[in-house]
């Protein structure tokens, strides 16, 4: 038996590796530029077609508005204010309702999810009621809240809370239930008390589930607040939409919709940053695109 070793040229191999790395980096940069370029191109083509369609009568701007009309509407809201006061105030009111509802619903959902997830008896008893409550179309509760809590902020916050609570609760509960058995046993044998197990094993392992639900449920909170304002309010983006609707002002409806979308995107961005900070222990997702 003799050992056979392959012949090699160290220097030549090193230079070829450097060159290959440079090529790979250049390829990555080109691909990134291509993605961004295509995204912009799609946006421009879409807006141009819409605008041209409106100009040439293919699309009726009375019903479906046009990009320039929407822009003029937003600009006039920004510079001159809306029929119900400055635009910033409307945004502020809606955001305040959304955040309050989101915070109360999320905290309540997480707490209830952990308590029921850790206690089998409570979970078995309450699961049926939660299923029933979850199957009620919750937007309808908006009318109830308007009757009970009036036209002010409380009724919108209440609607946002019920929209958020069940989503977060279901995820927190599932997250607690999916916590790894071996990990819990490990903590137990290392000397953790039941409280320590909940705080240092159960909650961190449910965190990915909870954070995933926060993404979805912020959108729900916004829907709750806007629908609440729709049903009856004195301020807010929802009222702005319903006023525009009443005046057959399609520009106004679309403009308000775009402002709401921008609000949701900004908050989504903040939640993603928070998530990356909280779960920095997680491996990077496989298809991470530098956006």
């Amino acid at each position: 038996m003799t050992a056979i070793s392959p012949a090699s040229d160290q220097a030549a191999r090193a230079t070829s590796i450097v060159a290959a790395e440079a090529r790979a980096r250049a390829r990555l940069r080109r691909r990134h530029a291509l993605v961004i370029g295509l995204r912009l191109a799609i946006l421009i083509v879409f807006l141009a077609l819409w605008e041209l369609g409106a100009d040439y009568g293919v699309i009726d701007p009375f019903f479906f508005s046009s990009p320039s009309g929407i822009w003029e509407q937003i600009w006039s809201w920004v510079t001159e204010g809306t029929s119900q006061g400055p635009l910033w105030l409307q945004i502020y009111v809606t955001l305040e309702e959304t955040f309050l509802g989101f915070a109360i619903g999320a905290v309540g959902g997480i707490a209830a999810g952990i308590v029921l997830g850790r206690n089998k008896l409570l979970a078995d008893v309450f699961s049926i009621y939660i299923k029933i409550a979850n199957s009620v179309p919750r937007v309808v509760l908006g009318s109830v809240f308007i009757i009970a809590l009036g036209l002010g902020m409380a009724s919108k916050v209440a609607l946002a809370v019920v929209m958020v609570f069940f989503v977060v609760f279901a995820n927190a509960f599932q997250g607690v239930r999916e916590a790894d058995r071996a990990m819990i046993a490990n903590a137990q044998i290392l000397g953790a008390s039941p409280y320590q197990i909940t705080a240092t094993v159960i909650i961190p392992s449910a965190m990915s589930w909870i954070l995933a639900s926060l993404h979805v449920s912020f959108g729900f909170a916004l829907v709750g607040a806007v629908v609440g304002e729709f049903l009856g309010a004195k301020q807010g983006m929802g009222l702005l939409i319903s006023t525009a609707q009443g005046a057959f002002n399609a520009n106004g409806v679309f403009a308000a919709m775009i402002i709401l979308a921008v609000m949701a995107l900004v908050v989504e961005f903040i939640i993603t940053r928070f998530e990356n900070y909280v779960v920095k222990w997680r491996p990077a997702p496989f298809n991470e695109q530098g956006t």
Binding site: M183, A187, L190, S193, V201, W281
Partner: protein
């Protein structure tokens, strides 16, 4: 059985002495499955581990090997018979026990040092002291450069080293291991076995090491328990008189080692076949 002469001495199971580290005395464990059937996990099971002794448990799949460990931790209670740890009946999880799991049981959201410090922190050691000890143990398993890494950034072998440090930092008098190295490749496993023997000889813990790998059992143990196909009971016990310190990479070519492994394998083989044919019948 004339082969059991030199190194593999067959012992007769006897009632455990009072001062043993672990004494499982004539234990039967039954439980009711969710569909209402009675299952016997182990029956008439007797096992003694003296202080500082390294015992391995081998047996076919599903014979209740892991059950024996859970009896010692107190996570399972015997239906009949009794279990004593350090002379005291098992009532709760003893602070003297350390457990290394088959699966990855590290906390993925904690860095290496936070994982290793977990035990002392849970037990109320002041923070600074806990981290000092953690740093010391991480260095002992050769991971000093990786203190700040998270488990997902480490290889399987490195994660096992962290798990060993996490367990050993509590200085367990009793060390339970449930097929800890079965997921590792051959070279890494050999290195980990050496690492384990090194740590064990320093700490002088009493060890119960469950494995399905007979050669691993013979290489590591003072005493090997062979279990029957489920419901498990002790078929035979062998004392392994190979000299220590042992070097894992070399011991498998040792003539004496090969003889012992052969003797025990003859004993184990029929149980493995029985276990497999049963598994084919029931579809497990």
């Amino acid at each position: 059985m004339q082969l059991q002469t030199m190194a593999a001495e067959k012992l007769s199971p006897a009632a455990p002495p009072a001062d043993a580290a672990i004494a499982i005395d004539d234990v039967t464990l039954r439980f009711v499955t969710p569909d209402g059937h009675m299952m016997t996990a182990i029956r008439d099971f007797t096992m003694t581990v003296a202080r500082g002794e390294f015992a391995c448990v081998v047996g076919p799949t599903g014979c209740g090997k892991s059950t024996t460990l859970n009896l010692v931790t107190g996570l399972l209670r015997p239906t009949t018979g009794n279990v004593r740890v350090m002379g005291n009946p098992v009532t709760e999880i003893s602070r003297d026990i350390g457990f290394v799991f088959q699966a990855d049981a590290l906390f993925p959201w904690r860095s290496v040092i936070d994982n290793v410090a977990a035990g002392p922190l849970y037990r109320g050691t002041p923070k600074a002291q806990a981290y000092d000890r953690a740093r010391d143990w991480i260095a002992r398993v050769g991971l000093a450069r990786f203190e700040k890494h998270y488990p997902h950034q480490l290889s399987g072998g490195m994660r096992k080293r962290v798990a060993l440090a996490q367990t050993f930092i509590n200085q367990p008098k009793i060390l339970l291991m449930d097929e800890p190295f079965s997921a590792l490749d051959m070279q890494t496993r050999t290195a980990m076995q050496d690492e384990l023997l090194g740590l064990w000889s320093e700490l002088k813990s009493s060890v119960v090491f469950v494995t399905h790998d007979l050669e691993e059992a013979v290489a590591l143990a003072d005493k090997v328990y062979v279990l029957t196909a489920g419901p498990g009971t002790v078929k035979s016990v062998y004392r392994i008189d190979l000299p220590r310190p042992r070097v894992m990479a070399d011991i498998r070519y040792d003539q004496k080692f090969i003889e012992i492994a052969k003797v025990i394998w003859n004993d184990l083989r029929e149980e493995v076949q029985l276990g497999q044919s049963r598994g084919l019948q029931t579809g497990h």
